[in-house]
Symmetry: D4
Subunit: 159 residues, 8 copies
């Protein structure tokens, strides 16, 4: 649990990459008054340390026909099946997030689907996994916030 130490320059580099992962290193270098090589070395170091795990596109799922979002709480027959069930859930691409949780559910998932009918199919895929006892679904009528950038900037400001 010992944390990697990031200095002020690392923070500023991350601050720029958070807003646009495709920004050229030469632009970052110019802005921070350091050499592009330094930017390269710093980013490499943060990748090696596992702090930067990769980058991902932010797509508009509505435009791609996937506007249906739901949260599915999963009850297991027995928690000894947790690992097995998570592996089966991992085979369903429509599940984008899955956590082992406290409270009434054993596992809690977020799914994206095309519409009500497709959501039913995805929920039934989860229901049909061996060891899954029951599921309970809560539908998102509108996802108003989905933004980790504010958190990332806050983390670096705080450090």
């Amino acid at each position: 649990m010992s944390k990697f130490r990031l200095d002020e320059v690392d923070h500023q580099i991350l601050d720029m990459l958070i807003d646009n992962t495709r920004v050229p290193f030469t632009d970052i270098a110019k802005k921070l008054l350091i050499s592009a090589g330094t930017v390269h070395v710093r980013v490499k170091k943060m990748e090696d340390a596992g702090i930067i795990m990769g980058s991902s596109l932010v797509l508009d799922y509505d435009k791609l026909g996937y506007s249906f979002i739901a949260y599915v709480g999963v009850f297991l027959n027995n928690t000894s099946q947790t690992k097995f069930v998570l592996e089966r859930i991992n085979e369903i691409p429509y599940v984008t997030v899955a956590s082992v949780t406290t409270g009434k559910f054993n596992i809690f998932c977020k799914i994206r689907a095309k519409d009500t009918k497709h959501a039913k199919d995805v929920i039934f895929m989860i229901d049909d996994i061996e060891g899954v006892y029951r599921t309970e679904t809560m539908i998102s009528l509108e996802e108003s916030i989905n933004d980790k950038k504010r958190l990332m900037h806050t983390i670096f400001k705080e450090m």
Copy 2:
């Protein structure tokens, strides 16, 4: 709700960018046997159409000291306050996702915090918003899946 039409080349470009947003366009061009200019034009077109909304870093929050994840269900005094409360929630950077939901909660949030004590502070920030009547929290003991890439690839394979 009419959808933008993506062709096979668009899909292949997206497929490569999903895995690494920083892959140079020349690499994409070489792989797909098209010109880098074509890649550029296609990406630009998908950005203009709003399909590609941006890109984001995938960071290791554990290594950054933010290993605590919780889901917070919010009850409002009245749903006419939904918009106002969402704006206040949006000012709390530790809330990374917020949805208007069916079921017992009016709004459902995902938060990231440093530890139990910090989580309490974040939950109290939400509780203190005018119009929030009560919150109920479910803690993630382990986030096993957090991966939209599988979904993105599936979407393009299906289209």
Copy 3:
């Protein structure tokens, strides 16, 4: 609570009308070996007694763009507002059924909407009625049975 007495002929007339309200009285008469006038008199009598309250079309809501069905449980601030709230609910055409119920809800509604977004709007209309304290929604992923004809035939067979 004293019941209107229907005889065998009434039952047979109803049995035919249940399957098709537009069947000509002459067809009914021919089938039952009675005069069309008798059919007319009997139907009139059942209408006057209030047993036949009218007729309605069975439309395919999916084809009309209304494929979203949800059940909305309504909590009131006080049951003395029940009548007032039901009158307001009655002004929302998307609510097709509303009952005063036992259990955790005060009023229980069935709604039909175009899609998730429209459903949210309809739910908010209910939420915004004065006296409504909270609502809880359960979404129908697929309406498999919606058929009163089986019941009607059973009632007449039993009598």
Copy 4:
């Protein structure tokens, strides 16, 4: 999901039939200043397209001795049994509506019965279906609204 196109005349015909399915086509023709043949053709076309699925009587169930209405939530042992259980439920004429639902129930039914004792019998019929794990019942103390005509008119006004 491509929708059948209805024009203004179709809407007006439907608007009249909604209020009284037995209105003669000649009356509709006179009102809309078109020929009875046109009415006939239009209705036929809407029937063929599956928009008009039939017609049904509106009966006064109270007067027929069926004044007891309840909603029954069904929990299944496993959702793979959904189809089988729905077929068994379909054999019980006292169930007028059944949906596959999100939330805590797998299937949600509406039933009509003669009285408390009869309701118990109907609930037990559902409970006894293989694959049904448990049911939970909510009783309607008074059905205040049961009217799809407002919705139908709204749909045609909106189109």
Copy 5:
């Protein structure tokens, strides 16, 4: 469901017996200005009709060492076991009331016990019945009303 007809004199006799089942018939006769024989005949008639099913002592359970009252909700594995389980419950004298109920419980019982420890034993007796899946207990901190006499008088006043 046809009701036995009680006349004014029957009501007055019942009204007196409700307050004290041991009141001599001669006292009733004097008060109502009828003969003791008439009182006897009327009471006999009401007993034969099954309206008067018997009489019971009202004891002070606190003074007898049974001050602990609890309500126990019973979940069954399957409602087909209802009759069998009720017979087993009937063998436990500490259960004074048991109903088949709607809502989340299959059977709902009232129990009287000596103290917390004894209550636990009684609850475990119910839990151990074959077919009982789970129980949920709600403890009465103080029984403020337990009086059917007000209801009986009201019934006779209303008739």
Copy 6:
């Protein structure tokens, strides 16, 4: 909380009265081989000690038109209102039992009514009491056991 001491003779007298409160004291005397005067003295002593609080008729409510039984859980705005609300509840004769309870309800009542419609009226009377925040109702589909005699006999056998 010191208990009144009952001896073997008291128990035997109570055992006979429990089954029939109207049994003449001479019959009890004959059976127990004691004098009628002794029976009288003993009963008087138990009445004075408050152990015997009175006697009540066991009526067949079904035959009297009161076949509807429900349990109503009451939520208060504040428990400081408990005493006041219980006094108001005590004015409703259809409430036969009311307890202050642990668990989710503040007060828990048993009601008897004529039918569904009457039950709704009684529930609304409770709902309309000042200080009552909400009620939740559970309907008895069949009261299978309602018998304190088994308990009474057990108490005296145990002592």
Copy 7:
């Protein structure tokens, strides 16, 4: 259930020991103007009577790395397994309290763990006990009161 009688001197001795179990008997003797031998005799007597069962250290669990507190509700398959499951729970040192409870849980535990990950392991240990059907966890964000001394002083003041 007959209680041991403590006199005023016993109370005063206990009052001093409650605040500091290590206070020398000579100090207690001086304060109460009695001999140290008397203190010794009295304490011995209370230990023999089982009133004083021992003494325990009050440690700062946060400083020892055990800052995570949770309450775990346990559902059993059958209450006949209660004793067996409690014995298994007793083998898990991280469970500091366990009660057989009324309400929805069969057994209710308090656990202390190092952090979220460790808590998950402890909860899974409980989940894996044969006869445990499901658990539900509630996390303590901050233990504000944990103090039996106030109660002890109150008990002795009251006696």
Copy 8:
């Protein structure tokens, strides 16, 4: 959050004190083959570091007439009142533990009382605190485990 370092000798001293806080330091010294002065210094050091916060008697509450244990979940009107309500709860000596919790309750308490009636009084004291919206109580039928000593020994064995 940096932890005080305890060495092997400290652990052994604590291990002995955990079982009996009144064990003389000379006994500890003899057992561990160190001087009594060293024991004294080590204990003093652990007290100064705040690891040892004090000691408490383990009393038999049953024998003292306090055999009733309950858990009380508290709902607040608003979490901004948490601190104020905890201060009021702290004035009730019958509350031995109180935590700010996740899940449905804002504050979760453990209380000890003499009997059902006294428990009601204690619960009402909590209910009457300004800012407390509602409470929900779960009664302990039997406290089977209440033992931190196993945990303490485990902690020191692990370190």
